[in-house]
Subunit: 414 residues, 2 copies
């Protein structure tokens, strides 16, 4: 087998551990010098391939590549760029293959979520059709936790830990002051389509979780808040950004307008805070964690980091074994203690399939999680993925970022 | 000297390390059994004294009291309850003395910020006037960092660390995706009156800090955002909740109304996000850390924790030495390495004096911090105050919370 170079790219929303997968891909590839030459990383994801902007990762020190395991964000740049269908933009796929050919790339490692799995599959298919030998391996990553087959997605466990820890801490704060101050605290978390992240609130002292899966009923909700405050003096709410009513209207789109009369996407937290003020007149505070939750590498879970590294390593091993159009999936083999292994899963069973939060994970009243969900989630937030610190701040990798020389004409999207 | 009991109470907004001060007071008191009998902690702060609701801390195990050093919130309950002036409500102060007398309390340790320092001083004065022997010691605590004489206030260093770390992490996330996604990220932080907390954003990769001290100028601000995005592709903004224009109008009160036409206190972050959308049409995200920042014990700084413990210990030692109406102040004695000591400061020089962010800490353009500020802040975020973890979550103290029997008639406020 001739030595071929590899291409690696990060796709879509980044996570606190996506760079750990990058590091694993790059470092594992070095173990197979007879098969893999250089690993080129796309600058800003797949755009880097289209634009022929490729970082030569062999220019990075081992120390720096190791530091990637504790660096949040996407070290090589990620992008939200969905390749069109083969029919709609065959030229784009052909350009990819042209770039791969120019740089002798035989391995395509694509680190992303649902859309990326689809892209990875298509790249594999077009290469085959064009007679270009390419092994396309998808490396899973998404805080949305919605990839099928795999028990969980790298990136999710750390967000779950962030939500559980933050809610626990802020909940302790609120509980201690509720007598004379804030009685209702709302933390809004990510998850437009599914309540995976919101569910993590159930690991803390949360009274009410608002899932996208459970239609929001104002009267019932207000009663639940009132009851919590009357019983224990305060109420802690974890609200998914995707919370919606029975008609599918997002609570975040509650018709708020700014001073100029423009519609505001105000967020779920302020919307339900207003309801609570109007209906119950209670003092509230709310937090919107936004990117903080998915970038909080200082709070990543050890489980999640281990998964992120393992899928990166296995992706390379699968490539060496000759596999194509597959994804390393995390398979849970036990809960007490939590055990897992990596298995190869075919991409055509993954692309465009969304794994939703199972109904049996949601408590009967719709405001909490079940024991089954707790067992599932506990494993994923377990352990602390310690990061090195310097001068009070976490140490992050500083890449050299050396782009290789271009060999082709500039690419223009159309 | 006869053995007297001690009263300890938490006051105002809690911090991630206020319980460490509580632990230090209680444990240090045990070293002086010939002077201090029991330490009673007020349930919900000073209200506990007024209502004669006193926790007997001798019922707590050493293990639990030690665990307080890594427990956020106010373990005994805090309150926002400002005692009126002596003239307006002498009865309230007399009630305090009555309760202290009933339970043989000779030491008053009050753990709070500016208002509490004033209360502590007044309690000391009324005791003297009434001929009741009481030593009142204020234990400093406030994330606002606005107490005079002391170099910093326990609670602040950890919030500063939270803001710096969160901004660093989210900034890495945004930087990696800016090409095709979010270009402007705003994190809103606490500090209605002073920019101490916002200043901590200057320790991270922040492009623009909005201080309450610097009048907001929309055109200049929009230009700065535009310039950052044009230069590096993205812009990271740390905005103080107290950001305001030259006329003193808070940006948070920008006239946003909800679906019912009610005025919304929308927050600074969404307000300036709207501006950026309207003026520059850039994609943005924003976060509002709210209580998360002041309760994040998992991210507390070692400096801050050390300070919180030291002021608790010294408060008791000052009491034993016979001091009254004083506060242990943190005095910086060196910067490289950071060294400090505790000195006794008279409360009449502290009560009702607010220490503002020095003008020389703010960069000339008004959007960043100076080297002097960096030196000041770096010392306070230094070190990690490690907490124990179990099952993926931080371990917090669970107090027995045993209230002592009441001896007096119920108290009714008027």
């Amino acid at each position: 087998m001739p030595v071929k170079n590899a291409f690696y790219a990060q796709s879509g929303g980044v996570t606190s551990v996506i760079n750990a997968s990058a590091s694993a891909v790059i470092q594992t590839a070095k173990k197979y010098p007879d098969q893999i030459g250089k690993v080129y990383a796309g600058k800003n994801g797949i755009l880097g391939a289209l634009r022929e902007e490729l970082y030569d990762t062999s220019k990075e020190t081992d120390e720096c590549l190791e530091a990637l395991t504790h660096t949040p964000g996407g070290a090589f740049g990620s992008c939200r760029y969905k390749l069109k269908s083969l029919e709609d933009n065959r030229a784009e796929y052909e350009r990819l293959i042209e770039v791969f050919k120019a740089h002798d790339i035989g391995y395509f490692f694509y680190n992303g979520g649902n859309d990326s799995a689809d892209t990875c599959l298509k790249v594999s298919q077009i290469a085959e059709k064009m007679g270009y030998p390419l092994q396309a391996i998808h490396v899973p990553k998404t805080v949305d936790n919605d990839l099928p087959i795999t028990d969980c997605c790298p990136g999710f466990g750390s967000v779950a830990k962030y939500v559980a820890v933050s809610t626990l801490e802020a909940g302790a704060d609120v509980a201690s002051m509720a007598e004379t101050s804030t009685k209702v605290f709302i933390i809004e978390v990510m998850g437009r389509h599914a309540g995976w992240i919101a569910a993590a609130g159930g690991l803390a002292n949360t009274d009410i979780i608002l899932f996208p899966e459970v239609p929001f009923e104002k009267a019932k909700f207000i009663e639940a808040v009132d009851s919590a405050v009357k019983t224990q003096g305060h109420c802690i709410i974890v609200a998914s950004e995707g919370a919606q009513d029975a008609e599918g209207n997002f609570l975040a789109d509650a018709g708020t307008v700014d001073a100029f009369g423009h519609k505001q996407l105000g967020g779920v937290a302020p919307t339900i805070a207003s309801m609570i003020r109007e209906e119950l007149g209670l003092k509230y505070h709310w937090a919107l964690a936004d990117y903080l939750q998915r970038s909080a590498r200082h709070l990543s879970s050890k489980s999640d980091l281990d998964h992120a590294i393992a899928v990166g390593q296995k992706a390379v091993e699968y490539a060496i074994e000759g596999q194509n159009a597959v994804m390393p999936a995390i398979i849970r083999t036990g809960n007490n203690p939590y055990t897992w292994e990596i298995q190869s899963a075919p991409l055509d069973q993954i692309a465009n399939v969304e794994k939703m939060l199972p109904a049996e994970y949601i408590r009967e009243d719709g405001y909490g999680i079940t024991e089954e969900a707790r067992t599932y989630l506990k494993a994923l937030i377990a352990g602390e993925a310690v990061t090195p610190w310097k001068d009070g701040l976490p140490v992050h990798a500083k890449l050299e970022g050396v782009l290789i020389d271009k060999k082709l004409a500039d690419w223009s999207s159309n």
